[in-house]
Amino acid sequence: MVWREKLAWIAVTLLGTVGLGVVALNRGEPVDAAWLVIAALCVYAIAYRFYGQFVANRALGIDPARPTPAFRHNDGLDYVPTNKYVLFGHHFAAIAGAGPLIGPVLAAQMGYLPGTLWILAGAVLAGCVQDLTILFLSTRRDGRSLGDMIRSEMGPVAGGIALIGITLIMVILLAVLGLVVVKALAGSPWGTFTVICTMPIALLMGVYTRFIRVGRIGEMSAFGVVLLLAGLFFGRTVAESAALAPFFTYSAEALALALIAYGFVASVLPVWLLLAPRDYLSTFLKVGTMGLLAVAIVIARPYLQMPPVTRFIDGTGPVFAGNLFPFLFITIACGAVSGFHALIASGTTPKMLETEGQARFIGYGAMLTESFVAIMAMIGASVIHPGIYFAMNSPAGLIGTDPAQAAQVISGWGFLLTPDMLTQIAKDVGETTVMSRTGGAPTLAVGMAQILSGAFGGSALMGIWYHFAILFEALFILTTLDAGTRVLRFMLQDMIGTVVPAFRRTDSWANTLAGSGLAVAAWGWFLYQGVIDPLGGINQLWPLFGISNQMLAAIALILATVVLCKMKRQRYVWVTGVPALWLVVCTLTAGLQKLFDARPAVGFLSHAAVFGDALAAGKVLAPAKTLAEMSRVVTNDYVNASLAAAFVALVAAMVVFGLIGIRRALANPRSTASEVNALGAMVGDD
């Protein structure tokens, strides 16, 4: 390194330290969000340049001269050597989604500092390492999927267990994303109208690119976005019209049932009709809005109203139950480390990589960008007045439904709030109420509306920006519901097909309908249960989702650790081994606490016991209103407990398989990894 470069890195380090210092040590007065951005960018730059390079070059032993699958199997379609900036865009668009936007918003209940520190440290040391390593491993194995790699490196039983894990995650993921949409749209005619508009628009776009101007994605997306914005503006008129508003005002239960029906219908339609055009719209809108938000934060320079640390680090918070360890880590999930990225990094990206030398830019770099999205979500949640934040994210069972009562309860928590502030913010964003809009999306939308209207348009446009943010989240969540139901259907068909082979045939309409029905029933059950849960559902479902996501990350990192040992690179085993161990400890602790914790708010079984005892005595406990609801609460607790138990068992089993794999690898003096060698032949495959 020349001295000028050294000086530059010393400057970056100093700047980052100052930024972190301001963010961490400030007490009392609001902090400029710019400091948070500066601290994050400096951390990312240093991590990418030094640790990322160390992991790529030393730990993994990247060989830029080795032919990649894109060259060995070049077919101009799936396997295409692709410019690294173009591929970065593809990879980032595939990994980014609702997760990093929602997790940090929920985590803000403990203050912005604990969450921010984990988003930075987790991404740099665990998330980016996972993405880079899995991308590298898959590239060395002709772009094989995560499941395939687990099967070939750790044995068929481990592969089967991982597949069951992925299926369970899908169910929980779809339920929790559905719940986020339901919570955002319930009783909101403006939001509901805009989201319903996306369906005819997508159908129109689908027909346009299929028959009228085939494959003209640019034209189609441009006029799709224009129609979408027209719907957004007209939504205000609909909401303000006494005649039209009732047609688009629905209860949460009705929306949940509609969403379940939508998931079923959408997943059996041909992909070009609804899924593909909507996917195009939501992808462009997603990437565009994230960029816009970054620009707006720089221009508006908002102040963080949330204190760095709140009293809720003791585990008594209303947004999610449980202590800082492990539940903060479980809640943030995707913004720091996400198991889903292991599926993407072993999907289409490794088939397009020009050289292994670019794996760091794409694997490590895209995850850093995703982590920055999580930081922006944290900023979005922290620029709102903390009292309003808690009013939006506390279930009605805790704060009631009356602004005066809610203001009193929340002021009692130490966040001074008047009923006027609640009605004013609802009026500003064009809603009747913002109370108990749990699920993160509405909170983020209020934060984004504040930031964006601060940068462009002033407070007059706040309602438009709020509903734009809701639309942007709902759009890609609905796309995920559609695509996810198809994936789940495929996995169910595959699993049930081992018993009833005829069920595997994907060209049969009966199979498609039955498979979609099963898939929708699985996530729909959890969604509906979450909607009618008086404690708000997100409370129960988000931790389960977080546990499952971190579990998948743990599985991916265990695989990476085993393969490092098989490659005889055990000197560097800590690079993936330490994050794997951390995730195992986190998921096991969280899973066991969800099962056995004595606090009914945390432990499913103790919650079931409280309600079961009351039921046996013939008493009705709030928030349930009838004995039938009481027994439903108990049943839900047992189902949730079984799921948590399944996750704990899955993690434990994978740890055992991992340890067996490591022992075998270390006992063998030669490399036993089954990868494609420099000459293009598969070696070590058994």
């Binding site: 830029p64 070049n74 077919d75 101009g76 379609l77 799936d78 295409v80 050597p81 692709t82 410019n83 690294k84 900036y85 173009v86 591929l87 865009g89 593809h90 668009a93 595939a94 990994i95 989604g97 609702a98 997760g99 997790g103 999927s145 995560l146 499941g147 395939d148 597949l163 994303l177 085939v214 494959g215 994605i217 640019g218 992909v271 593909a276 996917d279 195009y280 939501s282 992808t283 462009f284 999930a333 995707c334 889903f340 599926l343 993407i344 999907g347 397009m352 020009e354 050289t355 292994e356 030398g357 830019f361 796309t479 995920t480 695509a483 996810g484 198809r486 994936v487 495929f490 996995m491």
Partner: protein, 107 residues
């Protein structure tokens, strides 16, 4: 000097097949260094637009059609290549042909 989006990594020099830029009809920055400045500026602007468009298309799963044609010509000169419409439908179907664990865009 190649523009930033067409720049190659250090290691790529060792890998002669790795042509970062998939358009055989153009040089790495689209125009020779001897050309007048305004022509080079225009060429650069065009290249940036082209790069953005290719990124946007690949984001939704449609790879570069020119690269496909170049590949067909090189590898299978005697077989007819798909038209753009066929190519688009083929790629659209492939993007949503979900198999085990292939999943995008949740977090």
């Amino acid at each position: 000097m190649a523009p930033w989006w067409a720049m190659t990594e250090m290691g790529q020099a060792k890998n002669p097949a790795a042509t970062s830029y998939n358009r055989p009809d153009m040089g790495p920055d689209g125009v020779s260094d001897g050309a007048p400045l305004h022509r080079r500026g225009l060429a650069q602007a065009r290249l940036i637009c082209d790069g953005v468009a290719r990124t946007a298309r690949l984001m939704v799963g449609v790879p570069d059609y020119d690269a496909y044609l170049a590949h067909q010509e090189r590898a299978h000169p005697n077989q007819p290549a798909m038209s753009y419409a066929e190519f688009f439908r083929n790629r659209q179907q492939a993007r949503y042909a979900f198999d085990k664990g292939r999943f995008r865009g949740c977090c």
